[in-house]
Symmetry: C2
Subunit: 315 residues, 2 copies
């Protein structure tokens, strides 16, 4: 692995792909690599793009990536698909979208889709972002369908969060306002040439005013875009940069990143617990016999869980 | 608590509500209660009703509940709202839906919505189902929007899983077929008076035929319903009973429940780890100092996490 890491440090994109795979699949030795790469991280601005299926997030992300490149930046993209049966298929367009991106190494794309990874998907995504950061990408764009807890955990790791809606989301906005305002640093109304765009923007604006805290000096912008026609994406781009400047100068960024580290430490401990539990502890036990006892009413999962926990942790 | 448990055992619904709250909020002593109630559980048939937002799941669940009651059964309902910002609002209708249900104690309804509970939400839902089971409900209906990993974990605990689609889901079915077929024991095409109902049923049927395994003697039914007009829900009801009979006689049910116990034991150990980590271990540490070191580049979250893990688990 030493040579792959050497090539990684030299900026070799194929070495990057190797390292991302090792980290995504948690291949042996991935932790040591991450510990090493972490030292080189901390420079990349992490932007989360989230919204309901069909909001045009991929097109928007590609368009933003091209603007960053035009501005002399290097961009890493992670698209997270939680592979819920009801949101599936987001990955079918991977090949199409990659054809739209520059192929000169200024943009790197990877999609994450680990059905059943549960809490592990958020941790794996964060790890891939650390790899991107260490590789020298100035910007990391994380695209995710905003549907579940895992995706919210991912979005929590971003320095700036763009919530993408479409005019058709209008009717739903009433009920989801509180949650959206909580996570959004910026709103984007994509496909804004469709009817209803102004109404949804007005509704959001009203909710933002009502909820605005006097100690908060950031006014959440609502940017209408037509990503497909590359219309107004530059305004969204500038708003993202403005939010980054605000976060830096107000101390929000530093505070947020400390909170991030705190959560990362916990997440690392939790991941290790689960891995050791599955890989070593439970596999060495005769669980069948224990389950027989529970089925026969001689015991119950709660007492068994506690007994095994004590044995695992204290014993 | 002893008197509440006594009243619970006597079938007092207010005592049931108290116990459900204790278990949902993980109030002190909840584990001991669960260990005790678990002995009385194992009789209830657990049916999961899942599907995209707007598929009419609540109406269908109410309608099914009334049919079970007409058949002399007692029914507990849990509605799980993952409180994603994009699916929010599902709970607004709680009062309305409860007005539709019998008030003679034959049906009990509870909604779960624990933002930020992460993996904990699936465990908490399972615990509430154990309480229902011990209370003597013959049937437990779990309703959830099928969007994320937490919801899939919940659905995995059900004896029968009904996936509810609507004709409008048609276009999406192509891309989500594999995932749906994996989790569905029965399909229900609700609002089947709308155009497209036959097409989506035909598409599903085709996919089921292609994927049918020769060792599987269950043929997944596709039942068209109009829950709002109470039309054909009796056919769905009978299909659910038929699936239960199949699961019992084929051994699938027993195998599934053993797998359930295995996962429950793991989940209990994981929950306890997280609780002890947060409540005791991390709060006693000076994490600020540790985070300072990481920010200053003297350390990294991976090495810190490992060191703390060893201290916690071996120390």
């Amino acid at each position: 692995m030493a040579t792959v890491l050497d090539r990684f440090m030299e900026g070799d994109v194929r070495a990057l792909s190797r390292v991302v795979s090792v980290v995504e699949n948690r291949t042996d030795g991935y932790r040591e690599i991450l510990a090493k790469l972490y030292e080189k991280s901390g420079q990349s601005l992490r932007i989360g793009i989230t919204g309901p299926p069909g909001a045009g997030k991929s097109t928007l992300v590609n368009s933003l990536a091209r603007q960053f490149v035009a501005d002399g930046k290097r961009v890493g993209i992670v698209a997270v698909d939680p592979t819920s049966p009801f949101t599936g298929g987001a990955l079918l367009g991977d090949r199409v979208r990659m054809e739209e991106l520059p192929t000169d190494g200024t943009v790197y794309f990877r999609s994450m889709a680990t059905r059943g990874a549960s809490g592990g998907l958020a941790a794996a995504t964060d790890n891939v972002c650390i790899v991107y950061d260490a590789f020298g990408f100035d910007i990391t764009l994380i695209e995710t369908v905003g549907v579940g807890q895992v995706e919210l955990d991912i979005i929590d790791t971003c320095d700036s969060v763009v919530v993408v809606l479409v005019p058709e989301s209008g009717d739903a906005v009433q009920t989801m306002k509180a949650g959206l305002i909580e996570i959004a640093d910026l709103f984007c109304i994509n496909k804004s040439d469709r009817p209803g765009a102004e109404r949804i923007a007005a509704e959001l604006k009203h909710s933002l005013e009502v909820r605005h805290r006097s100690d908060d000096t950031w006014t959440t912008p609502i940017v209408p875009t037509e990503a497909l026609n590359n219309k107004n994406v530059d305004r969204l781009y500038e708003s993202i940069l403005a939010h980054f400047e605000y976060a830096k100068s107000s101390g929000v960024l530093q505070k947020h990143r400390r909170e991030q580290i705190r959560r990362k430490v916990r997440s690392i401990m939790r991941t290790r617990f689960q891995r050791e539990l599955d890989a070593r502890f439970l596999s060495e036990l005769n669980l069948d016999e224990i389950i027989d006892d529970i089925c026969d009413g001689k015991s119950n999962p709660f007492d068994v869980g506690d007994r095994l926990y004590d044995k695992f942790c204290r014993g």
